[in-house]
Subunit: 680 residues, 2 copies
Amino acid sequence: MNVSDLVKRVLVGRKLASAQLGETLLPKRIALPVFASDALSSVAYAPDEILLTLSLAGMAALSLSWEIALAVGLVMLIVVLSYRQTVHAYPSGGGDYEVATANLGPNAGLTVASALLVDYVLTVAVSVSSGIQNAKAILPFLAGHEGLWAAAVIVLLMSLNLRGVRESGALFAIPTYGFMIAVLGMTGWGLFRILVLREPLQAPTAGLEIAPAPGYESFSGVLVLVLVARAFSSGCAALTGVEAISNGVPAFREPKSRNAATTLGLLGTVAISMMAGIVALANLTGLKLIDDAGGSSFIANGVVVEVPHETAMGQLARTVFSDFQPGLYVVIGATMIILFLAANTAFNGFPVLGAILSRDGYLPKALYTRGDRLAYSNGILALAGAAVALVLAFNASVTALIQLYVVGVFVSFTVSQLGMMRHWTRRLRTEQDPKRRARMLRSRVINAVGLSCTGVVLVIVLASKFIYGAYLAVIAMVLVFLLMRSIRAHYDRVARETAVGPADARLLPSRVRAVVLVTELNKPTVRAVNFARATRASTIEAITVAVDAQEVRKLVAEWDALQIGVPLKAIASPYREVLGPFLNYVKGLHSDNPRDVVCVYIPEYVVGHWWERLLHNQTGFLLKARLSFLQGVMVTSVPYQLESSRYALARASRDSVAARRRSGRGEARMGKALEGRRRG
Amino acid sequence: MNVSDLVKRVLVGRKLASAQLGETLLPKRIALPVFASDALSSVAYAPDEILLTLSLAGMAALSLSWEIALAVGLVMLIVVLSYRQTVHAYPSGGGDYEVATANLGPNAGLTVASALLVDYVLTVAVSVSSGIQNAKAILPFLAGHEGLWAAAVIVLLMSLNLRGVRESGALFAIPTYGFMIAVLGMTGWGLFRILVLREPLQAPTAGLEIAPAPGYESFSGVLVLVLVARAFSSGCAALTGVEAISNGVPAFREPKSRNAATTLGLLGTVAISMMAGIVALANLTGLKLIDDAGGSSFIANGVVVEVPHETAMGQLARTVFSDFQPGLYVVIGATMIILFLAANTAFNGFPVLGAILSRDGYLPKALYTRGDRLAYSNGILALAGAAVALVLAFNASVTALIQLYVVGVFVSFTVSQLGMMRHWTRRLRTEQDPKRRARMLRSRVINAVGLSCTGVVLVIVLASKFIYGAYLAVIAMVLVFLLMRSIRAHYDRVARETAVGPADARLLPSRVRAVVLVTELNKPTVRAVNFARATRASTIEAITVAVDAQEVRKLVAEWDALQIGVPLKAIASPYREVLGPFLNYVKGLHSDNPRDVVCVYIPEYVVGHWWERLLHNQTGFLLKARLSFLQGVMVTSVPYQLESSRYALARASRDSVAARRRSGRGEARMGKALEGRRRG
């Protein structure tokens, strides 16, 4: 049993029997990295985006980076406090979708789900893009083709997930702690050198000036407000992933809720420290970033200069470890890895959310009732496809992608907080114990603060980023929402249409008339006849369509010679067509005997290779599709296993040994989680 | 009854009962345009290619264009005479594939078929590309995106053919005669102005000099030979399509063979005249073309100049009709239309050849035994896809594409002539009548001359063009050949494996055990149970997989309440999997009763829209695929028609009124042709 399996098993909220799985529950020191990679990784790009956005107004605005980082930290603090309430209220793990659905109804839940699905795609796109942008500091050849490299990384993650990577706690713990140590170490050492050793550390861009973007020359009034709002919105990307712990409460050791709450607090502290450290170092070393696409530019000695873009992390590592080159490699390597790991968490979360939505009828049922890796695979492929399209369309520009990001997270935060308020209000209606009531009232106040805060941030994000790209995310969410609504409407309509009553059970056909389709005389055909004969139908006929008189005569002669128990009957075909005359024959048979059911037997070749399928069964395939539209007709495929199918079978059972190990775990993880959730 | 249908019906060689179709047989004046569009259209690019190739050696070589055109004309004369023998020998229409197969065996036939299939693709690519290149003379905006425009035209032709265009004799006659009149008129008027009126007509490029391509500066010795060979090979593109008449003899009025032979002679005369006229005019007006890609260039006043490329047809029309602008439009319009019409003939020929090859087991059987437009559609899609890839890859450059062309035609010519020689030798063995023997001996001599001629041309074409692109055509032919061989080998292997003996007819299972898969309780499930009950199997069980204990208890309770005749049995699933446990159950049932056959009933939803299919039946679909690998198991789909399927059915039957009109004709045309051929 590995940790990641366990986490995924509970990610959607199963209450594990501790007797059964107690010893594998997560201590806080493992739970933190397992749930934190997404949230922590965003400090690799959030500070950059604050600085970049402010650069539009030139040097004057840069000094505001401190205040904006502080504001982002404050929001994170409030969100962390709010989710601590969720952790206490839903010790079985309350995903935002579940909290919203349970407290606010299906449309609220579906809103959250749409937001989350879109956000999973953006998590992959932004994380991988940032990973590539950061990696350029030590792998300069990536420059120029960032989009393609990011796409390649996504395809790699996709294939690992399709094959079923074997994850372990170490997979999360080592890079996450490595990243924390690397970044905090870099910050500490940098601050030590500057503040204690009084070394005059200068970032590579320290000597440059920034020319504001056209239109931003006078930095005042409304412009300040707008720009600060945009910088703040981009900085809020640091909050993505904070909600993960609230989904995973059951994975914690007892006392679960308290441990989860503590870990959440820890996560918040670490994230805020890292963010603060990076912004502080950036200010102290005179680090500058520009937004080329937005229009700001670097100036050296009064002349506009082209400077290759390097991330804040890259510049800081280069500066702080100016006397210790390996430090740069460690920081950038750890940053890159944790970003790819953050993207990987989306590959786990997306199909699980898909299964939950499928269970509720909002996505094809096949995603829920599975027996194959197919369902997972479809989710993984869809996620990877959308993310690849994004990184290619935006050439892996984090600045461009981040305009679409964050909206989804804050929709989800806000609706979830509203759900929590409703939750406490409901609980308060029935709760008598004054001490508990006090605690609930306190929780409700915290969630109310959280709601106002995330609501305000959502409005700021939407207002400040809408025209820069957020509208695309909103459109995507609306489309996903409508798609899920219409799928659900379809299932509801089908359920009403197929609802069964006592009368249905008595609609028994009086007799069965068997018809075997014959196109050639060979073992598959003879097997079909023999199987049909074994069913002892009222009548049994072997039918061939006479497209060629000469051939039919030959066929009938051979048929009779073999003394097959059923005589062969040929029906005329004026146009060399097989399907039309056969369909008409079956139709006629049924309308002559409306109380009987017609059973059509079709011999079918079972082959081993996909390409062999193109060579067989095409007529049968078309015929089945057409027959299915007829009332009172059923279609029986009589498979004939060609030799090549045996190899395929052997190959399949060899694969399934490996697949079962993976997929069995997957099934268990997912299945029990879903089951638990339904009951919980 | 329209002419094109008739022609297609006989294109592959059916001997029509003249009593039945006599009055619709083609008079020579309609037969000529119907069969000539492909052959005549090539004069729109063959002269260009001769001039282009010679331009590589600069001005000195241009004077050879006359001799090369003469040589091409001579080859055409010989090929026409040779095919007149075929026309007499196969009054039922002898396609090259059939002639080769009948006289030289299947590998020869398959060689011809591979060559023809590749050549159909090239006919489309070259004709459409040339159409676009010519059209630039009056539609200058086409320049710069020739590849895309050509692809668009191919896609348009494809959709017209997928929808089933209604063709008529006029469709062929008007543009073909229009083209003949336009080109011969232009030539006549041009020669009249130059020779009679003594006007000094000068082509737009007359004043320019040509700088030879690097390496060709000294035009002598081997270089002359090589270049002349290349120019001649490209000029031989004029011969493509000459063989069409020999396929269509049965479409002619009596006396068929003589009429066909006369028409063939007429076609040869017209084609040679047009070619000669264009080359003569080009020489007289000082027209020059360069091969930019090859390296030759225009020089004006000693300086290399860029001149937009214009085809010979465009330049000549511009020159001859310098005082009558509409003439230019007519000539170019007619040229463009006949080129697209030539491409369209490939869209008719390709699926018919595909069906013949499918009948012989070299392509998937579904292409032959059809009942749908599916088979045609696949052929049309494949042809269009390959042609689009070519025009995009070569940016619709006729010069580049022509390097691949012609190889296939001459492979087909040569093998077919060899087949004809064998044909006469065989006939001579049994023929006693001295007069007939004399005629046969004469025919054999003509075919021998044809064989030597086309054989030599084939060698010249291969040698002179191999490295310039012909190797691609050769590779494609070899791949197509191998693909068809392996498909045939597969079918032969399957036929051997499934050959039936008297023992097979007695392999009767003793009993049938019915198993109904239950996942929900609704009308489709109840119908499946009722149908299964109607079959009166020895045992009948309703099986559900218990992925969720609570749900199963509810399902069983409801099941019992409805008093469905068969008790519901739940089987355990440790991993929330449906397929695995169910498959194991079925496997166990069969191995406990090896002499019985298990019949699994699966309820299936029949829906109306393609997207609804994604929402239903996925589990059943996977289950069927897995069950088919089990011995002694058959699978019965019990369809349940949802309301939406009724609309689909209504739509389908509405469509089929139109489709039947088309497809009925198509079936008849193809079917009878194939049938006739087999007997003929």
